[in-house]
Amino acid sequence: MAKYLAKRIFYLILTLFIVITVTFFLMKLLPGTPLTNQAKLSQSQIALIYKQYGLDKPEWQQYLIYLAGAVKGDFGTSFQFSDQPVSYLLSSRIGPSLQIGLQAMVVGVVLGILIGAIGAMRQNTWVDTTTTVVSILGISIPSFVLAVLLQYYLGLKAQLFPIAEWGGFIYTVLPTLALGATPLAESARFVRTEMVDVLSSDYIELAKAKGLSRMGVIYHHALRNSLIPLITIVGPLAVNIMTGSMVVENIFSIPGIGEQFVKSVLTNDYPTIMDLTIIYSFMLCVVLLFTDILYGIADPRIRLTGKAN
């Protein structure tokens, strides 16, 4: 296990290095400059500012300087908020994003499992059709459309939840729903398919032959076996939530890293873009590592250590 973890962490660092490299040079291809009022500045003023931020050097030098700093944990200072270290800027913003992301993931997956399981148990009835329609809608409606609809109906019309801003738990409800719709739909669809398969398998027949009740069969045998493969889609779902958060946080004006990411790209705030890319990649790598380990725990057939004894 320790050896496996060490290997995975090595790969994680390698992945981050590649991500940093690729992002750094792609980012330089972005149109525009970090300067807000470029037209009003003279050539010498621009040169001065560039020199101050080290943008006058060739790109490969900038890259090496950035890499050297990153290794030491120095991710530079933000261009937008003068003299604010990027790490400080983002550490205050990561909380709301994590909260909404995790809530969306948990709510989406738990409800998805429930809906998928009910659909499978009532296969080919109106219940099943309804759950299928719900999941197709959830998959096909983009989160930003859903966000606006939720704001209008639950926020403006029904006055149930605040439309935007960040205050307490009540402010997280709508963004969570908007972001959670896709994980809900995806996992419902996935669980239904898996469970229909599992329910027709021989070991379910044997479980029935043992005299287990319908719920006993579902709870003790069907559920675990249909949920294990669900772990594999947690990674892709996390990606979905991360990309969704960039738009959804903007719509709900949530002071999170997703909103910050969009701002940084629009203003060519290079250090912030870099740092955010690293954060997103790191989170995804951790999720993937976590799901791989979880899979091994949940499914005895692929224990990481090989033999159980």
């Binding site: 044997l206 032959a209 005299g211 003790h220 045998h221």
Partner: protein, 366 residues
């Protein structure tokens, strides 16, 4: 024939499956008895209704199955009239089943100890420790070596033969009155087959259960069964003791089955087979369903269904050939040989019975 010795009596069972194309008449008026302590083999090719029969007994038919008529009496009660809840109490307790494929019939994510102990926990409300202790005993009984350490293993850590032993342990843990074995050795290789069959016979004596043994393999039947019922196209066409079916078969279908089984004496390059395919049970033919594939078919076979004709007290066959007015036919050579062998056996037996007395006396004198 409502006999005291019968543990299970199936009467006039008819099961249809509703499909978009119409009703598939999978079981067409099947009746049989299972006596206490015996092994009844139900033999037939795929689609003849063997498995549907056992599934109906277990109450585990697919949702589109419709039991049109019949009764299944177990201990004076009709299983077909039981509620789902009542059937849950019977399954795994009074009637248990061994499934065909041990590779897929165990839950891949549950320790086998728990899987074997489950029927105890469900039916006897046993606590985990006690149930596991009994599961361990049962594992030893079915011949799983090193049971103490293997009780915590998962199915994928066992070979096919060992898994089938586990499946048997699950079925037998509550000492069921009736054990249904649905082709329990089909998925195993031949050497393992023999081991599993021996184990089943041995355990049948130990826990005195009655077995319904479903198979398409007549070779397996000979060593296992007391009585045999041959099924074709959703009907039983012939039944009798194992000797009667093997050595004095009367139904042309049974002739076909036996001739297509290789024996030590078979010679030549080609094994005989039954031509054609079974009829479509969406629309079963009138008369004898086997008529179209039957070289010995009479005209009446295509018009009227044959009733059961009595061959002996224990042996019945549904073929018009047994009607007093039917023309005399000679069965295939192989079957004639078998019948001759049987006649000799009977003679020898009769002689032996006459001579047993004196032989024993002689032994005593010495």
């Amino acid at each position: 024939m409502d006999n005291e010795n019968n543990i299970l009596e199936v009467r006039n069972l008819q099961v249809n499956f509703k499909t978009y194309a119409g009703d598939v008449k999978a079981i067409r008026n099947v009746s049989f008895d299972l006596r206490k302590g015996e092994t009844l083999a139900i033999v037939g090719e795929s689609g003849s209704g063997k498995s549907v029969t056992t599934r109906t007994i277990m109450g585990l038919n697919a949702s589109n199955a419709d039991i049109a008529s019949g009764s299944i009496m177990y201990k004076g009660q009709d299983l077909l009239k039981k509620s789902e809840k009542e059937m849950e109490g019977i399954r795994g307790q009074d009637i248990a089943e061994i499934f065909q494929d041990p590779m897929t019939s165990l839950d891949p994510t549950m320790k086998i100890g728990r899987q074997i102990a489950e029927p105890l926990m469900v039916h006897k409300g046993m606590k985990k420790d006690k149930a596991w202790a009994q599961a361990l005993e049962m594992m030893k009984l079915v011949g799983i070596t090193d049971a103490e350490s293997r009780i915590n293993d998962y199915p994928h850590q066992f070979s096919g033969g060992m898994r089938q032993r586990i499946v048997i342990a699950i079925a037998l843990i509550n000492y069921p009155e009736v054990l249904i074995a649905d082709e329990p050795t089909t998925a195993l290789d031949v050497t393992i087959q023999a081991q599993i069959l021996n184990l089943m016979k041995e355990l049948q004596d130990k826990i005195s259960t009655s077995i319904i043994f479903i198979t398409h393999d007549l070779g397996v039947v000979a060593g296992m069964a007391d009585r045999v019922a041959v099924m074709y196209a959703g009907k039983i066409v012939e039944y009798g003791t194992v000797d009667e079916i093997f050595y004095n078969p009367k139904h042309p279908y049974t002739w076909g089955l036996l001739s297509s089984m290789p024996t030590l004496d078979s010679s030549g390059d080609e094994l005989p087979s039954i031509p054609g395919t079974p009829p479509d049970l969406l629309d079963p033919p009138t008369g004898d369903a086997f008529a179209a594939r039957n070289a010995y078919a009479l005209k009446i076979d295509t018009e009227q269904e044959p009733p059961f004709f009595k061959v002996s007290d224990t042996h019945y066959a549904a073929t018009w050939l047994l009607h007093p007015d039917a023309p005399k036919v000679t069965p295939p050579a192989q079957i004639v040989e078998r019948q001759e062998k049987y006649a000799k056996m009977q003679q020898a037996l009769a002689q032996a019975q006459q001579t047993t007395g004196p032989v024993e006396e002689e032994e005593e004198q010495q």
